[in-house]
């Protein structure tokens, strides 16, 4: 029997649990000739902001052991161009489109949410309160339970769309933030965003990145991410999209067993654009091998 891969993220139903992590797959269209986008559980697009955002000065990324450090700075054409130019191409795919939104102030999150409500093809919003690479907004909201709650509340009031709040690992206790966001009506959580890092060019005695610091991503952060998903899963009742260094089905299954209902592939999309489809196939194969009928049945089934 074909395994049941459907996933319920609050009101949002997905045909399978695999999607890209925001920022690692552009608007999806860049990869259309390399990946069959219609096979994805959802398509999470790169952060959109209220106004066009230029991003950080280069260099914006460098490779680290089993990872990359990046400071893109939310470069994007702004929500209006996104709605006008990208959504008409994304909607016909028939895949749930999750739009990641980032604001410089609480009011901008609300405005973005209101603007995207009712746009054909938009299935949910992912609220980015965890970008480590912008001076205003981003992680500043996600590092404090009160501001995280305020942003969630204003987005909740501005839209009927399902809301997924993306959490930062750069906090003392992520479960406190998760509970604060849950209390304000979030439908799901996604974690983790990148870990703040610094790489130094010792010859020049300068940071390698133009932004000085960046966010660390890739396999290097996977055990940290699995641990935080496990912690948050025990602290809240919300479904979780787990991410952080997933390269294979086995990696993805660690997140699912730790408590994630769905998973996102990030850095590995750069390395192997077909990685998400391989992860999906591998999860199916695991379910058949272990006699698992529904993927939801193994969420959080870690035995300790």
């Amino acid at each position: 029997m074909e395994p049941d891969l459907t996933v319920q993220l609050g009101p949002l139903r997905l045909t399978n649990p695999v999607m890209p992590a925001s920022g690692t797959f552009g608007f999806g269209l860049e990869y259309a000739s390399l990946v069959d986008l219609r096979q994805l559980g959802a398509l999470v697009v790169k952060s959109v902001t209220l106004h066009p955002t230029r991003g950080n000065p280069p260099p914006r990324l460098c490779e680290t052991p089993a990872g990359i450090l990046n400071a893109i700075g939310l470069m994007n054409p702004g929500v209006e161009v996104f709605i006008r130019d990208k959504m008409p191409l994304l909607e016909p795919l028939g895949v749930p489109i999750i739009v990641n939104i980032a604001g410089r102030a609480q009011a901008e999150y609300a405005e973005l949410a209101a603007r995207l409500d009712g746009v054909p093809g938009v299935s949910a919003l992912e609220v980015n309160i965890s970008c480590p690479n912008v001076k205003e907004g981003g992680m500043a909201f996600g590092a404090d339970p009160q501001t995280a709650a305020l942003v969630t509340r204003s987005v909740r009031q501005a839209t009927r769309l399902p809301i997924i709040v993306k959490l930062s690992p750069n906090v003392t206790d992520i479960s406190v933030i998760a509970r604060a966001v849950e209390a304000e009506g979030a439908d799901a959580l996604s974690l983790i965003n990148t870990l703040t890092g610094l790489v130094i060019d010792v010859e020049k005695r300068r940071p390698v990145l133009g932004n000085t610091t960046g966010g660390l991503a890739g396999p290097a952060i996977r055990p940290v991410a699995v641990h935080l998903v496990w912690r948050v899963a025990r602290a809240v009742r919300l479904p979780i999209i787990g991410m952080g260094g997933i390269t294979s089905a086995s990696d993805a299954l660690q997140f699912i067993l730790a408590g994630a209902s769905a998973v996102a592939v990030g850095t590995q999309n750069f390395v192997q654009p077909k990685a998400m489809l391989e992860v999906l196939e591998g999860i199916k194969e695991y379910m058949i091998r272990h006699g698992v009928a529904r993927v939801q049945d193994i969420v959080g089934q870690l035995q300790v």
């Binding site: 230029r54 990324l61 990046n70």
Partner: protein, 264 residues
């Protein structure tokens, strides 16, 4: 743009620290334009993790071959430089916007170090179309002068500069450019190499009002315009600085568009 597995046909060290990797990749050989690149997975593990953007040095369309000229710099290029015949390479390409076809009768190419690699593909095509090619080749020393005989063989007029004076002009390769620009006939300049070299080329070309195209290099992740990680600062007609993707808007840019800073 597609993903391919191409087998290494032969890999030879053509100068200390430089390998010429010949890959059987008929689809890329047929489709590639001068100035484009391929994105190559180096090794199967987590370090190096990202693909490496390697410019297309030459193609042989009849035999379906793509030639990559690789300078050993770090873990990715050093892996690639040592893969022998038969090794399968995981390659995405051809990628990027290459050099435009010239509208002048003459072309001057300025290649610094391994930056000369994509200019060879361009030079071959131009010679084929009957365009005169002057190729200014720069290197640290005589041993690192790349593909000099090959370029002469295809009919390019090659001049050489070395940092240590072991061959040709003792000094910067850009020192050779002003006389080439003063020759009279309409000319287009094409350059690839270290950023300080490109800055000088851009200034010299702008000084005499000659069209000039630069191929840039940046750290790159996706290679397809998704991650916005490989940008370079550019200036449009409105004088506003904007960032453009080296992987898709480039790697080739009009010289007047590229913004250089103090350190180039």
């Amino acid at each position: 743009m597609q993903q391919h597995i191409g087998r290494v046909v032969v890999n030879s060290e053509i100068a200390p620290g430089y390998s010429l990797v010949t890959v059987h990749l008929p689809v890329v050989a047929a489709a590639a334009r001068p100035g484009q690149f391929v994105h190559v997975k180096a090794g199967g593990g987590y370090y190096p993790l990202l693909r490496r953007p390697i410019s297309i040095h030459r193609v042989d369309r009849e035999q379906g071959l793509v030639y990559l000229l690789v300078e050993v710099r770090g873990p990715g290029t050093s892996w690639l430089a040592f893969q022998g015949g038969g090794t399968p390479l995981d390659i995405i390409g051809p990628l990027g916007t290459g050099f435009p076809r010239p509208s002048t009768e003459r072309a001057v190419m300025v290649g610094g170090g391994v930056g000369m690699a994509p200019l060879v593909f361009l030079a071959e095509e131009m010679v084929h179309y009957g365009i005169e090619v002057d190729f200014l080749l720069g290197a640290r020393s005589e041993l690192q002068l790349l593909q000099r005989e090959f370029l002469t063989g295809i009919g390019a007029a090659v001049q050489v500069a070395t940092d240590d004076g072991s061959c040709g002009h003792h000094g910067r390769v850009t020192d050779l450019l002003p006389p080439m620009l003063a020759k009279g006939k309409e000319v287009t300049v094409y350059a690839c190499g270290p950023r300080p070299m490109l800055k000088t080329v851009a200034e010299l070309a702008a000084g005499v009002g000659v069209p000039c195209w630069l191929s840039l290099e940046e750290f790159m992740a996706c290679g397809v315009g998704a991650c916005r990680g490989c940008v370079t600062a550019t200036r449009g007609n409105d004088e506003q600085v904007t960032y453009k993707d080296v992987c898709t808007d480039g790697p080739v840019f009009a010289a007047g568009e590229v913004v250089f800073f103090n350190g180039a």
